[in-house]
């Protein structure tokens, strides 16, 4: 309350000051001078954004007598770089918070404090015509090197380019050898991927959490065994589609890491091998890298034909889950679908079924994992209905477990890096830290790659039988999926917060179609792995 009173006082003072300025300094030009300076600019700079904001021209001024140094107003700097601004009128100090850094300017001095580290500008920061004026060199000499964003200033053409998206897939190159052709993707971090070669002559590579400039990766004329390459960026993932020549006999996808510490280079290599006879590339598994780390027993166990499947109807007991407008409870729908799924799986795949609950009871999340592990299940399928704050959202999505998201998990990951199991004497602590993400995945869920594949197949099959929106395969840190020692997915079959889907979810035919999609997904998963085993 006190705060508001003071604010109003200042606002009144500001209005008075503005009125007065207009009376006394009348000819300076009418209207409120929002951005600085009523003066004509001495130059303009074109600002090009990569984040979708339209290109704009920003005024530059020469405010220092006898100097060619160009300045722009703090107002513009803040807007361009989405800074939070703080102004201390008594001390004539301005703070801009840009990204993770804090920049402190003092009027009439050359020192800028970058997170309390002093940096010297060629000319002092000025206060002119009611605005703090910042020399252009601040952007190129101070901001660009200290910011995480890609900032490029062309001082001759006066063009400022701000490429905010942090692409983690940065480059593609082809290497031709005697045995075949390699397409080499350069990555800034280790990412999970999935290769699909079901369509003859086409390799579809999905990189989870990948981001790329799709123009850079769309290559109409490939090299060697690659006919052409096409790229697509979705909200969460990147897709690359490789058209391969018929003389490509087989393919292999591998991760390569070179260098040490900060200079480490990560590459994802798609290798196409030449064959004597034209052949269609065979199915290969993205999980190779992971599999090599699994111990023999674990690998063997899930390579056996599927024998037992755990079905987990979400929520139960006092935990209703989402409650629809009509009063229908998620826990009940989940159980209905799970029971139907049990029936169909018994028929279609002749497997054993383990249910984490068959009644309306509360089963703690850890207990569900324990049940499935103790029963030695080969797959874990959790059934849920979704819910949202707004009736517009709808559709189905399939999740598998994502990497560590809590401090505790990160700490465990670091400990794991140091543990003997993954011991690598040549690795510095820093490098070990770089690796914790991927290593934790394997510790947490050795089956993450298989889980992603199972999720893909179930999602694809559901899209064949459901007419609601396909929201795709996603990764998330679902508590129920943690600690499960088998490929595990969670299916959000539809939204109870969506009126139409709430009605559908209570319809037996719709429930049967969901079950059909899940069963077909599991069947395809099983077929792939029995094919793989037969090699």
């Amino acid at each position: 309350m006190i705060g508001f009173g003071r604010r109003e006082q200042y606002r009144a003072a500001a209005v008075a000051a503005a009125v007065l300025l207009m009376c006394v300094a009348a000819p300076a030009g009418g209207g409120p001078a929002v951005p600085p300076a009523a003066d004509e600019p001495d130059a303009t700079i074109g600002v090009v954004y990569a984040d979708g904001r339209p290109t704009e021209d920003v005024a530059l001024f020469r405010v220092e007598e006898g100097s060619d140094e160009l300045f722009l107003s703090a107002y513009h700097v803040a807007r361009i770089f989405k800074a939070t601004k703080f102004w201390n009128p008594g001390a004539r100090k301005l703070v801009l918070r840009i990204g993770i850094r804090r920049y402190l300017f003092t009027v009439d001095t050359r020192v800028v404090l970058v997170d309390n580290e002093p940096v010297l500008l060629r000319v002092p920061v000025k206060y002119e015509q009611g605005s703090v004026m910042i020399p252009l060199e601040f952007i190129s000499e101070v901001l660009a090197p200290s910011s995480r964003e890609d900032i490029e200033l062309d001082e001759e053409r006066l063009v400022l380019t701000i490429g905010s998206p942090d692409y983690n897939i940065t480059h593609i190159a082809f290497e031709e050898g005697d045995e075949g052709t390699r397409a080499v993707l350069t990555l800034t971090e280790e990412l999970l991927y999935h290769v699909d070669s079901e369509t003859p002559g086409l390799l579809r590579l999905k990189i989870y959490g990948g981001s790329l400039n799709s123009l850079l990766f769309t290559i109409p004329q490939g090299e060697g065994l690659f006919n052409r390459v096409r790229a697509e960026q979705t909200e969460h993932d990147a897709y690359l589609f490789f058209d391969v020549k018929r003389s490509a006999a087989r393919f292999r996808v591998e991760f390569e890491t070179d260098g040490e510490g900060r200079d480490v280079v990560r590459r994802l290599v798609i290798f196409l091998e030449k064959g004597e006879l034209p052949e269609i590339p065979e199915v290969d598994y993205a999980g190779k890298r992971m599999l090599e780390i699994l111990d023999e027993d674990a690998r063997q166990r899930w390579r056996e034909p599927l024998q037992r499947i755990a079905i987990d109807p979400g929520h139960g007991g006092i935990d209703n889950g989402k409650v629809g407008r009509s009063g229908v409870k998620e826990k009940d729908i989940n159980l209905e679908i799970a029971m139907l799924l049990q029936e169909r799986l018994l028929d279609a795949l002749s497997v054993d079924i383990v249910m984490t609950r068959i009644e309306d009871e509360l089963v703690p999340l850890e207990r569900r994992a324990e049940i499935a592990n103790a029963e030695g299940a080969d797959l874990f399928i959790s059934i849920h209905c979704n819910g949202w704050f707004h009736p517009d959202a709808g559709g189905f999505e399939t999740f598998f477990l994502s990497p560590a998201r809590t401090e505790d998990e990160s700490r465990l990951a670091r400990e794991e890096n140091e543990s003997t199991r993954f011991e690598n004497p040549g690795l510095s602590a820093e490098e070990a830290d770089d690796l914790d993400f991927i290593l934790w995945d394997m510790v947490q869920n050795e089956f993450i790659t298989e889980s992603s594949e199972l999720a893909e197949l179930i999602q694809q099959e559901l899209s064949e039988v459901l007419d609601i929106r396909n929201r795709g395969v996603k990764q998330a840190g679902f508590k129920v999926l943690k600690g499960i020692q088998m490929p595990a997915v969670l299916v959000e079959v539809a939204f109870l917060s969506n009126n139409e889907e709430e009605r559908l979810l209570q319809d037996t035919d719709f429930q049967q179609r969901i079950v059909q999609g899940i069963v077909e997904g599991i069947r395809r998963f099983q077929n792939r792995y029995s094919t793989a085993r037969g090699e």
């Binding site: 705060g3 508001f4 003071r6 604010r7 200042y10 003072a13 500001a14 008075a16 000051a17 007065l20 009376c23 006394v24 001078a33 600085p36 107003s73 703090a74 513009h76 803040a78 989405k82 939070t84 601004k85 102004w87 009128p89 008594g90 918070r97 990204g99 993770i100 804090r102 206060y127 009611g130 605005s131 703090v132 979400g314 929520h315 935990d319 889950g321 989402k322 998620e330 999340l365 979704n386 819910g387 949202w388 704050f389 707004h390 959202a393 990497p403 998201r405 809590t406 401090e407 505790d408 998990e409 990160s410 929201r471 998330a476 840190g477 508590k479 969670l490 939204f495 109870l496 917060s497």
Partner: protein, 194 residues
């Protein structure tokens, strides 16, 4: 000869104009100093930044798209509070008030209030203590729960860069989960909840 006289006349006229102008300026200055001086004692904030006077700061709040498929930022002006903890409470309260734009959806349940905040600098951990409405009024569903957590974490992460971990509390105690899908019993890593 004639030209000379004209010049004299013009000069006289010019002089009169100058005298009148000086008088006007003098009056304006007197009025200025007598009437407006008190208002000018404090240096005015720079124009442009004046839109954001020194007592407010702009903060980036995160909401969700109506289809629960993306985070969308919105800039709000809120009062500057003394200290990180008070500022965090103000930001969360503003987030709970919801978006200005109708195309965005708040994923903070109705009636949620922030009771207390604690900042532990050593561990870079911010503790957010909510009232029970966070759980009891939560509509459920994993999309709803995901965006409840991520809009809070993202909003904190963007406005308070010193915060690395966020620990949720309800009525003073850690909770297992908000709606049964995501574990929130331990501090969540701001950088990884994006």
């Amino acid at each position: 000869m004639q030209r000379g006289r004209e010049e004299v006349i013009r000069t006289n006229l010019g002089r009169k104009i100058i005298i009148v102008l000086i008088a006007v300026v003098a009056v304006a200055l007197i009025v200025y100093f007598l009437v407006m001086r008190p208002a000018m004692k404090r240096e005015k904030a720079p124009v442009g930044i004046e839109e954001v006077p020194e007592e407010t700061r702009s903060v980036t709040l995160y909401f969700a798209g109506p289809e629960a498929d993306k985070l969308v930022p919105e800039t709000h002006e809120i009062a500057v509070e003394e200290g990180l903890e008070a500022q965090v409470r103000a930001v969360i309260a503003e987030l709970a008030r919801g978006p200005a734009d109708r195309d965005k959806v708040s994923s903070i349940p109705d009636g949620v209030q922030i009771l207390q905040t604690f900042w532990v600098e050593d561990t870079q951990t911010l503790y957010l203590d909510f009232n029970r409405a966070l759980i009891t009024n939560h509509p459920g569903g994993s999309a709803g729960e995901y965006y409840t957590i991520s809009t809070i974490i993202r909003t904190i992460g963007d406005n308070f860069p010193q915060v690395r971990y966020v620990q949720f509390l309800v009525a003073g105690y850690p909770i297992e989960t908000i709606a049964g899908h995501y574990a929130v019993d331990k501090p969540l890593d701001v950088l990884r909840w994006r």
